[in-house]
């Protein structure tokens, strides 16, 4: 979706990297199995993280799967995991809404393509929404609220980020026990905040150039189209506080089968991505290259 939630590959053990790869491919295969080939391209790192975070303590069955990208050796994927199915449903729901958003926002040729893709995916979206009604409702309600806020002058950065964060928080409601619901909700709320704010920082130069909406424009006075160093510092201190809350929630979770990889993503990946976004390197490195080099 956004791709900000990813591990620092060099710090993963080889076995962890292989399992991470397996979950990523497993999500892709699950999307294909549950929704058909057209939904495969929605696979992303953010929901791979979610599939690992929500995974139960049991070791899943591993089977070797081949695909167009890995035709010869194939990849060992944990195909039986319930968390993969949940993550796949949610990928389709959020992916569809994101496309609908693009269709409304983008200029002519791109918006046509998005509208066409929306049409193709509509029936899959409906099936996914029937499987995850609470999540689909949270997405719809909060994205609509976010749209409304974009049109209002008084809306603050936190208020806008809150809407996106609430979408992620709603995922925690599916957990088994009350403490776990609270912990997962808190973790995902702050993850949502961080993603939303990083996305705003990342898009800032583009939004300034085309005069589009960006929540940072209402919060800070820009100097030559950029955040002033003092403002960037304030923003990063705020992100740090959210990261603390996220880490605090994660520390309260029981050890899971993917704890090592999830720790890497939380403690190393997020700070590294934040650094890259604020220094401008994130945008600079071509998206395609980034995706190919990471997995």
């Amino acid at each position: 979706m956004y791709g900000y939630v990813r591990p620092v590959k060099g710090e993963l053990k080889v076995s962890e990297y292989e399992r991470y790869h397996g979950v990523y491919c497993g999500l892709c295969h699950t999307l294909a199995r549950r929704y058909g080939f057209s939904c495969r391209f929605l696979v992303n790192y953010d929901f791979t993280f979610l599939a690992m975070l929500l995974a139960g303590p049991e070791q899943p069955d591993i089977c070797r799967r081949r695909c167009a990208v890995h035709p010869v050796r194939g990849v060992d994927c944990p195909m039986s995991a319930a968390s993969l199915e949940t993550a796949a449903d949610m990928t389709v729901i959020l992916g569809w809404w994101k496309l609908a958003d693009e269709a409304a926002d983008a200029k002519a040729p791109v918006s046509w393509a998005c509208r066409a893709a929306c049409g193709v995916l509509k029936r899959h979206y409906k099936r996914a929404a029937a499987r995850q009604p609470a999540f689909a409702e949270a997405v719809e309600m909060n994205l609509r609220a976010l749209r409304r806020l974009e049109g209002e002058d008084g809306a603050s950065l936190d208020e806008a980020a809150d809407k996106f964060a609430l979408i992620l928080r709603s995922i925690g409601e599916g957990q088994r026990t009350e403490p776990l619901r609270r912990i997962t909700g808190e973790l995902l709320y702050h993850l949502g905040r961080i993603i939303y704010i990083l996305d705003a920082v990342d898009d800032l130069p583009e939004d300034v150039a085309r005069g589009g909406y960006n929540p940072l424009l209402r919060r800070f006075d820009l100097a030559e189209g950029k955040l002033a160093p003092a403002d960037a510092k304030t923003l990063r201190a705020g992100l740090q506080l959210s990261h603390n809350a996220l880490a605090g929630a994660f520390a309260l979770m029981d050890e899971g089968i993917y704890s090592g990889i999830v720790s890497n993503i939380i403690y190393l990946g997020l700070p590294a991505v934040t650094q890259a976004v604020f220094s401008g390197q994130w945008k600079a490195s071509a998206k395609k290259h980034r995706e190919r080099s990471s997995i």
Binding site: E186, A247, G248, Q275
Partner: protein, 217 residues
């Protein structure tokens, strides 16, 4: 109670030092400072109690009635929003502010916010408490703005000043993996120097000079 060894994640054959190390690591992880005004503080405090009891049980069984933890009784006492001393009763009554503090402590944020919104005169305490409501909600940016206003309006108040300072330095959290990974970019200044020096090298190759070399003049 669970097996104290499994609570600390060590085997019953572990040495005293290993037990102590495991206990200290966990105590660092669930330390109240990491859950400063955090909605999950109650769960962290339960964990802390659990590992304290486990450590006590192990030391007791090993030393036959001796020992104890020796100075590791971290308090989760609610020092957070107790009423302050004098000097804050201009805007609304002290009693009203104390009531709001109690609501914030009980995580009843909607009612605390409603009560604050009903107060028309906004003094430093009002801004501080509004900041606290935002903080608990996870609206960190707005919390910072309200804390800063409170501290500007009443610079002598230690509580407000501490809140601002805590925000500015990015709070505190448990970070394994060698304490790496911070969102503030602690080495940014260093990188900037490096970049500048690199830029200078490039420019010099192209005939420019970003950092003038005094010796060459």
């Amino acid at each position: 109670m669970n097996d104290p060894y499994s609570v600390l994640g060590v085997s019953p054959s572990a040495s005293d030092d290993e037990v102590k190390k495991a206990y200290r690591d966990l105590a660092r992880k669930y330390h109240p400072d990491n859950y400063h005004d955090n909605p999950l503080a109650d769960l962290a405090s339960e964990k802390m109690k659990e590992i304290n009891e486990a450590y006590d049980a192990i030391t007791k069984s090993r030393e036959q009635g001796g020992g104890g933890r020796g100075g590791y009784s971290y308090g989760y006492g609610g020092s957070a929003y107790q009423s302050q001393g004098a000097g804050q009763s201009q805007g609304a009554g002290r009693a009203q502010y104390n009531q709001i503090r109690a609501l914030i402590n009980a995580n009843n944020l909607a009612q605390a916010e409603a009560m604050l919104n009903a107060i028309s005169t906004h003094d430093a305490e009002w801004y501080y408490l509004m900041g606290s409501v935002y903080w608990r909600k996870g609206w960190m940016d707005q919390a910072g703005q309200y804390y800063r206003t409170a501290a500007t309006m009443d610079p002598s108040n230690v509580e407000y000043r501490n809140a601002v300072q805590y925000m500015n330095q990015g709070g505190q959290a448990y970070r394994p993996m060698g304490g790496m990974g911070d969102m503030m970019g602690g080495d940014a200044a260093c990188n900037m120097c490096q970049n500048l020096i690199c830029a200078d090298c490039c420019c010099e190759m192209m005939g420019g000079n970003l950092i003038p070399c005094f010796g060459c003049r």
